[in-house]
Symmetry: C2
Subunit: 722 residues, 2 copies
């Protein structure tokens, strides 16, 4: 990204007529002299000689009226927060009652060196004289006090404005003094039909803009709560700080497409000094484990206060924090989970898994991986830059990925375009298309190094795509918004179109399937044994003797192997046209010492019969124990309440260096508790008091994190009365 020093340097003196402003939060105290003489000597129009000169005695930003009408009451700030494209009111008290001959205007300024031609200096007039792009009208006159209505245009720059009242006086302009109390935040407006983020459904607006608590799905069996906390104290400034740190020109901050794209780059540290440092290892000793966060607020505040990237994140942390950034600025947003997400860095539609001639995985030569799940975000925006029909939900992804063009950002990519295979539009739709549509190609690598494909799985990748339902905590399967049913005519059309746009698919001729294998298993609690049912099916007319091999490993959620713990050879004879089931038990003692901080087990069964190879893969996500949470006290705003977090160690080993964290958006800021050890069967109980700030259905979330057990969560819901 552009460095400030580049602009400051003399090297660019002949390049820019003025430095391009890229900071919104920079404190500017001297926009104007209080009295600014006219550039010409002529008496200005509108000045009424002979009348006592007009001056301003008070500016009231009318927080209560405005915040309620603009759905911004929840923001924990003393300043006005309003949404663009919608009128707000300001009450100005003058030294005397203004007459029609008096000439004054309101001025809203953002960033340094604000400019009327760039929308960063907006004059609002209240008579026949033309002003800037925001309209103004006098709503009411009560003696010396005017109630003024101001409507920012629906494409206005989003951020923090400075407010002035300017009165045209004898020979010049008399302005109010700089007053930080009249600073005003202007946000995107999902309630305004002219705004690119307009969303017509009120329930959806309340969920996707106003809900500060969410649920993130991690696999088909597991979900976790996440505190977005976009209304908590300091978060709005932190989000503007992110834009400042990105050096995004102030002028472009009204364009939601540019803004979300830069946001997706800034949430990760790659390319720039972004918010979160990624860490996909088992060592998080230099920061907070990705599994140990309760929400976004602590991360954003730490980043904005220190200017230093926060350690550590994996995909759901990136998605959770990005969601806060988006909702905080008024952009409808949600977190999406793609189950079995393809991760391929050549941008084709093939995920190549390579096996040795004996059927074991060839890890040295396998470059692609399938993530058990991957989280990204969707934003709801019109896409005036694209043909009709491609607006609405758009994928943005802030987890650092190798998108084809080399930078660490992704989207906005139209979900509708992905569904139709219309990969010819910006941004990065081909990349997302591959994440949900890749074919998994199983190759055998022979002794000469040559690869021969022997199986293609078209259904594994993008098996399901989830998001939280509007107004409830249940999961909604939105796979159908990304793709047509596998094998349907529409699916074929989409795939053909994607290939026309250069997305290479596999068209290998595969051997006839004479034998197949499938693994099934019941959900498993952490600490329980695993029972695998391995079904070999013989489709041929002769019995087959299968030399089979089971390998078991602990994997990261990215599909990468953390450690191997099981290797077993076995033989099974399958009669012609029949299925033979082999039950395999893996005891807890076999996998427990190898888990590290992971909870995913990967089992691969390969079989050889005559010249045929078969392979089946099964990922098992172990279910962690949960924290119990109970609350007491009167559930009402500003009334003290209590919460208790309880946990009993169900294992026969001690849990060590145990960190507990808890928060609840609108209820309680982030708190922590430390236990050096929790012995086998021992219980802990942690009680905290809190005073709810916001009403409505709310949630408290606690997370436990220790060196030998992670991903232990609990939550409790409370409906707070106003």
């Amino acid at each position: 990204m552009m460095s400030l020093s580049t602009y400051e340097s003399n090297q660019y003196r002949g390049r820019y007529s003025m430095p391009v402003p890229t900071s919104n939060l920079l404190i500017i105290e001297n926009d104007f002299p209080e009295f600014q003489p006219f550039e010409e000597e002529a008496t200005p129009r509108g000045y009424a000689p002979g009348v006592a000169s007009l001056s301003v005695q008070n500016i009231d930003m009318c927080l209560q009226i405005n915040k309620s009408k603009h759905y911004t009451t929840a923001y924990d700030t003393q300043n006005l927060v309003v949404r663009r494209g919608q009128e707000f009111v300001i009450q100005v008290t003058f030294s005397r009652q203004p007459t029609p001959a008096d000439n004054f205007q309101l001025e809203f300024l953002i960033g340094s060196d604000p400019s009327p031609s760039k929308g960063s200096l907006v004059a609002v007039t209240f008579g026949s004289r033309n002003g800037g792009q925001w309209s103004g009208k006098i709503l009411e006159t009560r003696g010396n006090t005017l109630m003024l209505g101001i409507k920012p245009n629906a494409t206005a720059i989003v951020g923090k404005y400075r407010t002035y009242v300017a009165i045209m006086a004898d020979g010049g302009v008399q302005r109010t003094k700089r007053d930080a109390n009249t600073d005003m935040y202007l946000l995107f407006n999902a309630w305004c039909p002219d705004d690119a983020v307009f969303l017509s459904d009120e329930a959806q607006r309340r969920e996707y803009v106003l809900n500060d608590t969410g649920v993130i799905y991690q696999n088909s069996a597991s979900q976790r709560s996440w505190m977005y906390g976009q209304f908590e104290r300091g978060i709005l400034d932190a989000c503007i700080y992110i834009l400042d740190a990105s050096q995004m020109p102030i002028y472009n901050r009204g364009n939601v497409i540019n803004l979300v794209r830069i946001g997706s780059a800034m949430i990760n540290t790659q390319d720039d000094n972004g918010v979160l440092v990624g860490n996909w290892s088992d060592d998080y000793s230099l920061g907070t484990a990705p599994t140990a966060w309760t929400g976004s607020a602590k991360i954003l505040l730490q980043y904005a206060n220190s200017g230093v990237s926060v350690c550590f994140a994996q995909c759901w942390v990136y998605a959770g924090v990005f969601n806060t950034f988006l909702r905080c600025l008024g952009i409808p947003a949600r977190v999406i989970t793609n189950i079995n997400s393809a991760h391929d860095n050549t941008g084709n539609l093939k995920t190549d898994l390579i096996f040795l001639t004996d059927g074991t995985p060839d890890r040295r030569n396998t470059r692609d991986s399938i993530w058990n799940f991957h989280c990204w975000n969707e934003v709801y925006i019109a896409r005036a830059d694209l043909p009709p029909g491609l607006g609405g939900w758009q994928v943005v992804d802030s987890t650092p990925q190798e998108t084809s063009d080399g930078y660490y950002r992704c989207g906005p990519a139209s979900v509708a375009a992905i569904k139709e295979g219309l990969l010819c539009h910006p941004f990065d739709s081909g990349f997302v298309f591959a994440e949900v549509n890749s074919d998994v190609v199983f190759h055998k690598r022979d002794q000469y190094g040559t690869l021969t494909p022997y199986k293609v799985d078209k259904t594994l990748v993008g098996q399901a795509i989830y998001t939280k339902a509007v107004g409830s905590t249940s999961a909604v399967d939105i796979t159908h918004t990304y793709k047509y049913p596998e094998g349907s005519a529409e699916d074929n059309r989409t795939m053909t179109r994607a290939e026309e746009y250069g997305c290479e698919r596999d068209h290998s001729e595969l051997p006839d399937v004479q034998l197949s294998v499938v693994i099934t298993a019941e959900p498993v609690q952490l600490g329980q044994d695993v029972n695998l049912a391995v079904d070999f099916q013989n489709h041929g007319e002769f019995p087959k003797t299968v030399e089979a091999h089971l390998s078991g490993s602990v994997i990261f959620y990215t599909g990468v192997t953390a450690s191997d713990f099981k290797a077993l050879d076995f033989t099974v004879t399958v009669p012609a046209n029949q299925t033979e089931r082999v039950m395999l038990k893996i005891t807890a003692e076999e996998y427990l010492p190898n888990l590290g901080s992971q909870l995913s087990l990967n089992f691969v069964v390969t079989g050889q019969a005559d010249d045929q190879s078969v392979t089946a893969i099964k990922v098992i996500d172990l279910q962690a124990p949960v924290l119990t949470m109970t609350v007491s006290g009167q559930p009402q705003v500003q009334q003290e309440m209590f919460v208790t977090v309880s946990f009993t160690n169900p294992f026969n080993f001690p849990l060590e260096k145990v960190n507990l964290a808890m928060e609840g958006a609108g209820l309680m800021t982030h708190r922590t508790r430390y236990y050096s050890v929790i012995n086998p069967q021992a219980s802990i109980s942690w009680k905290e008091s809190f005073v709810p700030r916001l009403d409505g259905p709310r949630r408290l979330l606690a997370v436990m994190d220790c060196s030998n057990l992670q991903q232990v969560w609990g939550s409790v819901d409370i409906d707070i009365a106003a």
Copy 2:
């Protein structure tokens, strides 16, 4: 960009199954053990027991045959250079005559950890056994020697490959030793119909791929030669070094769209440690002035040898160096000059120029600028990623610009899409569209700070777009490839479509034109007086008295003011329906002391009559003197010749700290000469000998640079016999 340390770090251990290779030039000596046992015990097929084992005695890369057929003879390297999608030959001599039972293959490897599934390890087989994606056949057997034909696929990775011969022996694979002499460069192939860079016309291929000398236009009156020098020693490695420095994964280097996009980012230093540092000032004391370069070779070699960005560049230097990079890798490319290029950082179609009420330019509030000229590149590539009809020439621009998405790179943007206003396709077509189509809106800023547009000029921006003609040094106007004639039905359709895709235009209601003003001037030699003819035209029915003002300034080619040297008020009375001409003379003494290193003068005439304002702008590019160059000797390859550069100081002031530089692609590498002073009317003469390396029509170019005079060039053409 991704740092190597990110990958090396343990933090990504659970993220990637293998590190993603991003270096091609890294020396790798141990791809394989010389003998690699089979992973199974079984005797491999193809091994013929009882016959003396086969071994390799010699590998001949057949440079002469291959380079001629692949149009790569000019590359000054000892290694083979071939183009993909086209057969080349390798002659392998074995220890005995191979029999059909012998089993061997050629192996081509690129980057570290090469992988058959990613195309970075390619096995080429010569019998019925399947190999990788490149085809092989035995062309001829002469005793122990086989002439082998190898045809890389037309999407193969481009770069430097290592070559091995592998023989399947008893129980394993026996390979030749690593030998840097058999390393081979594989390039894009404009002669291959299956390659995305295919260009059907041979004259165009010779110009856009093989011509190593070019011409860059700087304004309608001025052009300069540029030595691309893509075949000079070390340049091909330097271009691969740029890709390595970009951390572009090896796997993606077969995709020309990705490659040119990353190239456009890497030629400038912004975002990454790229090739050239920009400097738009008059102070180049810490490096070489942008005007003082003769060509790309010195820049690329200095960058590749030091790893440090080279100082300094302006747009034509970026475009010249990028052109070398593109042609060197085999991509058809040319340098484009856009006369009056709009430079606006809000991505709309308006260039806003603001004037005070008295008609003088309001520099404080004017943010946009019109560059006198701007250079970019075009590449000729198929766009499989776009709908049909949008392939062919594509804009790529490596001058650091604020494209809307915040990074310093631009393109590939389809020229056909720009012409049609189809701004809904990647990459950055809206940005280029604005550069050639912006309306210039003249605003008056009143005493309240309010802007009122009073004039819109729809023809100034993108006035002409030039490139060098195929096979000659004349300029071709290719404006019609970017846009339809102003005001035509097609132009209206294009503009309407661009607006539909969100490109905001000006639709202000303008006052009736009662008065207009135009400035005309003859071309002016540096040191001569300037004569401006200012025509005021009164379109009204009454005579008008115009209070007029002339301001004169020296500007950078970016339109930014370097210094003001003239301000003159005058009055003119214009009869009804008539034109009144005022002649204004500006003497050389007025502008000379203010020039610095610039040669552009900007004159603004403003006039006020009644309530009406008029403004005219005229940029005058002063013509610098030229260097005289003469050659002697026999113009033949490997024969010594001589060149003399002569110059007489035509000014009445001394030229100080004079640096002369000279080079000629295929004739002479970069040489310099220094004169501490050249007194008024004094002459210098610099003679150098050189030995032509390449035949054909060639050019020597010399450039003079001193603290008080720049942009002095000369060239001489020579036809070198083979």
